[in-house]
């Protein structure tokens, strides 16, 4: 593959990479460092990209591994104060919800990371279940169950479902003990 073709592909994927980095880390600063590092790694390892496979999934793998190895701790420290990408823009149907991007990002930050990353790989970078499974090195069934859990929790954190389920579980637990 020529370098020009590689550069063109990279430019095309950058908005998806940055969107994934923003929503995964919850921080603009961390996201930009993460995308920067991913670009450099991808560029210096072009030979390890297998032609005919999904270029975006390959980049997501690099970004995701870089995040978990180097940036996760930093992201946790800064994500609440540095949430500048999530502006006061309303998302979804306006009349039914007053939710902003910031509300959604805050709700995402509350999800366990291994659930959040799956939701974002499917939603933001539009990978298939199979691709997400390969990126995380887990079974497709695990991807599906994490996705379901992530969706249910997200709905709850966004106030779309009442907290009755959690309370009921707690009650049951107390009764047993």
């Amino acid at each position: 593959m020529s370098e020009n073709a590689f550069a063109d592909m990279m430019v095309a994927e950058m908005p998806y990479l940055r969107a994934f980095a923003l929503s995964l880390s919850g921080s603009t600063t961390v996201a930009d460092d993460l995308v920067q590092e991913t670009l450099v790694k991808a560029w210096t390892h072009t030979e390890s990209f297998a032609l005919g496979t999904n270029f975006r999934a390959w980049l997501v793998t690099i970004l995701r591994n870089t995040y978990f190895n180097q940036y996760r701790k930093l992201a946790r420290e800064v994500q609440d104060s540095d949430n500048t990408h999530a502006e006061q823009i309303l998302v979804g149907g306006e009349q039914e919800s007053r939710l902003t991007m910031q509300d959604v990002q805050r709700a995402l930050n509350k999800l366990p990371e291994d659930h959040r990353e799956i939701l974002l790989m499917i939603g933001v970078t539009e990978l298939s279940y199979e691709e997400a499974a390969q990126v995380c090195n887990i079974a497709v069934g695990t991807v599906k169950s994490r996705l379901n859990r992530a969706r249910a929790k997200l709905a709850e954190h966004l106030g779309m479902v009442d907290g009755a389920t959690d309370l009921d579980l707690e009650k049951n637990h107390q009764n047993k003990t």
Partner: protein, 76 residues
């Protein structure tokens, strides 16, 4: 993990293709969301994702990409 290993892993995984065995982990049953809530969540989350992808690209990332490209051309 070093950079090399990481990239190798990435390509290995990319090469492996679909059809990874399920490793015996059955998808846990999770009660389905009410369809109305599912619709609402779907709309809100979709529009969140679309807005994120459309965020303007910071100059520093575009500059970096241009620099990487230029370096590559020099090497030849």
């Amino acid at each position: 993990m070093t950079m090399g290993e990481e990239a190798n892993k990435a390509s290995e995984e990319a090469v492996a293709g679909p059809g990874r065995p399920e490793a015996g982990i059955a998808a846990e049953h999770i009660p389905a969301l009410d369809p109305k809530i599912q619709d609402q969540l779907g709309r809100v989350f979709r529009s969140f994702c679309d807005d994120l992808v459309q965020q303007p690209m910071p100059d520093k990332l575009l500059v970096l990409l241009a620099r990487l490209e230029a370096k590559q051309r020099e090497k030849k």
